[in-house]
């Protein structure tokens, strides 16, 4: 057994340890390198930037906890952007487990112990304002503060349940749900997850079907996002934005080039780019998890490349390439 062979047969647990170290140490010594947003992510950002309280978007949590590390920051970033601009948001989910991911995202953005959170106003709490017949966003906020409510210091804004957000949740056969929503959202979701009838909500009064929706942001860990194109975009021309895991991202560049989606956040990098855009434009004082994660990723990528190169040197220097060969091989 020569040295190369010994090297290649090293217990893999040593390599496990190496990658573990490479992913932990940078947390304590951040490099703080800048990330430049790509055109793919700017496409989404600019689209949402062009919307306001009169428009509405859908943020769909089409992933499961397994890929949450990548997908969750994307959805949170899109939700934050919408909340900050007072754009009404419908929140849906393609998978049952995604509904809970959505709940976690909303509670993260409305967590009062965090900087720059949004003060959540529950449906029942502003019933009196609705009874007065005030439905426009500015009027609601005015009436709400007139009732003696003041925005806490750390908070960035209010989120009125039923006006700024409607949490619709999961339904099975979601591709059919998308089709059904093209004619009426309430036909698919008569109520939100806590049982409030959709028809009573101001958000629904202005945005009754997908025709009244200006963007659907789908964050997916698999091919669920393509359903939004097949059943939403191709049916009524609904604009779509993708947030996909890195594993799927390269496959979906075709949809950007064909104009079927307005943009794509690919993996943690895509989420980090969106976080950069939010911070640069004053929607957030700090970065989110994705940006910090990308900083850590630097070293890990270098380590992987180093391992590939080293492994190949050992392989060829050790003469292993001569041992197994098939005629049929390319």
């Amino acid at each position: 057994m020569n040295i190369w062979e010994k090297m290649l047969n090293v217990d893999r647990r040593w390599i496990f340890l190496l990658i573990g170290i490479a992913c932990v140490v940078p947390f304590f010594n951040p490099l703080g390198l800048p990330i430049l947003p790509s055109a793919e992510v700017m496409g989404i950002y600019d689209h949402i930037e062009g919307l306001g309280p009169d428009n509405a978007i859908i943020v769909s949590f089409d992933f499961e906890p397994g890929t949450a590390a990548e997908n969750q920051p994307m959805s949170v970033a899109a939700l934050r952007h919408a909340f900050a601009r007072n754009i009404p948001v419908y929140v849906t989910s393609y998978w049952p487990l995604g509904q809970a991911m959505a709940a976690m995202a909303i509670s993260e953005l409305t967590d009062e112990s965090l900087e720059d959170y949004f003060k959540y106003v529950e449906w029942e709490d502003w019933a009196s304002i609705r009874d007065q017949g005030i439905v426009d966003r500015a009027g609601i906020e005015e009436a709400w503060t007139a009732e003696g409510n003041t925005l806490p210091e750390n908070a960035r804004g209010w989120v009125f349940e039923g006006r700024d957000i409607a949490f619709l949740g999961y339904l099975p056969y979601f591709h059919l749900v998308i089709l059904g929503m093209t004619s009426s959202i309430a036909s698919q979701f008569p109520t939100d997850v806590s049982g409030t009838p959709l028809e009573e909500m101001p958000i629904y009064q202005d945005h009754k079907s997908l025709r009244d929706i200006d963007l659907a942001v789908t964050s997916a860990g698999g091919s669920a996002c393509v359903s939004w194109i097949t059943y939403g975009r191709e049916k009524i021309g609904l604009p779509i934005a993708f947030g996909v895991t890195a594993v799927m991202a390269t496959d979906y560049y075709i949809f950007i080039q064909s104009g079927q989606i307005v943009g794509q956040m690919g993996g943690l990098r895509g989420a980090a780019e969106y976080e950069v855009l939010l911070k640069e434009n004053g929607y957030n004082k700090g970065y989110g998890k994705a940006f910090i994660g990308m900083d850590v990723q630097n070293i890990a990528h270098l380590l992987i490349i180093f391992l590939v190169v080293l492994g190949n040197i050992a392989f060829f220097a050790g003469g292993f390439h001569k041992k197994t060969k098939l005629k049929g091989r390319r």
């Binding site: 009169d54 439905v135 426009d136 009027g139 200006d214 049916k235």
Partner: protein, 439 residues
């Protein structure tokens, strides 16, 4: 004759395409961008309040000299289920007025008293409106409606037109003219697949190019026999409904037959219980066909576990203990592909992989000796299985790919022509192919 069919169909496609490009009227443009959420809430309030007031009183309240919108023309919105009408009208004196806030569209069913506000429009949305998209005020097919359009001013006052009886009632169409290209695509595809099914069943010889991986399969079996070591065959982690699993089982049948002839031991671990039963049948059958049913070892095909990572751990254990000379990974794989192939490569086995899971292919290509890429897996199974309908299906798909290739080549040539001559021939081709975004 058979060879000419795709060419003929292509000619047909182009000819029809050309015909539409000439004949088709431009589809009606949607007057208001319905994707844009229409009314600001503020105006909606104003208008709803206004709607409650008696209309005649309203009209009277507006000063003289104001010309109301008029000339309402109601036409049927095409390609729908009879649930939308297009209302177009001519503007009145509100144009250019700084206080003009938008239009309000009122409707009532003929014979009823009350007018209902069915929609509002902003100043920049033109003078036509699609009625019926609001799920609260649906348009019923065949019902006679009456319409009124009012110009709304910032003060809340409205100048309303006369009540006009709709010239038409909404009607559903029997064919969606915007979907002609999709129809042609579907019919072509369907036609070609059925044609080749039929041809294959009649026993027409069909050429399928040799797939290098198949050679490698035979060679790898030979290698294991020489070394007297077992062969490991993993039919993927997919269910029976996955195309890759079906293809893999066909290939397994062929491998098992060879293995039976040579008397090499075979190991087939399974993850899906249903796949397991079918795989066992297939292997037994193969030993029978090879004339050695007695050589079939019942324990060679077995069910491991349904859990993804536990399955991998199990297979890895087998690789380290039994040291198979050849590993086959054919079928549907997910993230575990990497772990399997790495362990196999360390145990020194020859590895042949094949899957249609695109994201896993790079790992197989870099770790295995031979990899069947995507469709090659299906083709290999058709090639080995020689089942006429499978062959026919591959042929039919190839014919469709041929059409796609022809159109792309044509596009490439036209694009080059455009650069050289400065013409716009590519746009012409695009017009033939491009479908409207909205159905």
């Amino acid at each position: 004759m058979l060879r000419k069919v795709p060419a003929l169909l292509l000619a047909l496609l182009l000819a029809t395409g050309l015909a539409w490009a000439q004949a088709e009227e431009p589809p009606p443009t949607e007057p208001a961008d319905t994707g844009e959420a229409a009314e600001t809430a503020e105006e909606a309030v104003v208008m709803e309040e206004v709607a409650e007031i008696e209309l005649s009183a309203l009209s009277a309240a507006v000063g003289d000299g104001m010309i109301s919108p008029g000339g309402i023309v109601v036409s049927d919105w095409p390609n729908d289920a009879g649930d939308a009408l297009l209302i177009s009208f001519e503007p009145g004196s509100e144009i250019g007025n700084d206080n003009f806030a938008g239009y309000a569209i009122y409707r009532r069913t003929q014979g009823e008293e009350e007018l209902v506000l069915v929609g509002t429009m902003e100043t920049d949305e033109g003078t036509s409106f699609i009625d019926g998209y609001d799920p609260d005020f649906i348009v019923e097919p065949g019902v006679q409606y009456e319409y009124q359009v009012a110009a709304v001013y910032l003060s809340g006052s409205e100048v309303a037109s006369d009540l006009v009886t709709a010239q038409v009632t909404a009607e559903g169409q029997l064919f969606h003219t915007g979907k002609v290209r999709v129809l042609v695509g579907c019919v072509l595809f369907l036609g070609l697949i059925l044609f080749y099914f039929h041809a294959a069943q009649r026993g027409v010889e069909m050429y399928l190019r040799p797939i290098a991986g198949i050679e490698a399969i035979d060679e790898a079996i030979g290698r294991a026999t020489e070394m007297g070591k077992p062969i490991l065959y993993v039919p993927g982690l997919g269910a029976i409904s996955d195309v890759a699993t079906i293809a893999s089982i066909t290939i397994l049948g062929r491998v098992a037959k060879k293995v039976a002839e040579y008397g090499t031991p075979l190991l087939v671990p399974n993850r899906d219980p249903i796949v397991y039963t079918i795989v066992e049948e297939t292997v037994k059958q193969a030993y029978m066909e090879a004339g050695r049913p007695d050589a079939f070892d019942k324990d060679s095909v077995f069910f491991l576990t349904q859990s993804q990572f536990a399955f991998v751990a199990g297979v890895n254990g087998i690789m380290m203990r039994e040291k198979p000379a050849t590993n086959f990974y054919l079928g549907l794989f997910w993230a575990e592909s990497l772990i399997l192939a790495e362990t196999g490569s360390l145990s020194g086995a020859i590895q042949i992989a094949g899957t249609d899971a695109v994201t896993q292919l790079p790992f197989f290509i870099t770790t295995c000796d031979y990899t069947l890429i995507g469709e090659e897996l299906y083709a290999a199974s058709a090639y080995l299985g020689r089942e006429p309908k499978q062959l026919g299906s591959i042929k039919g798909q190839d014919a469709c790919k041929g059409i796609i290739m022809a159109v792309i080549t044509l596009g490439l040539l036209l694009a080059l022509t455009d650069i050289i001559t400065g013409t716009e021939t590519l746009d012409w081709l695009k017009n033939v192919i491009t479908m409207p975004i909205v159905d």
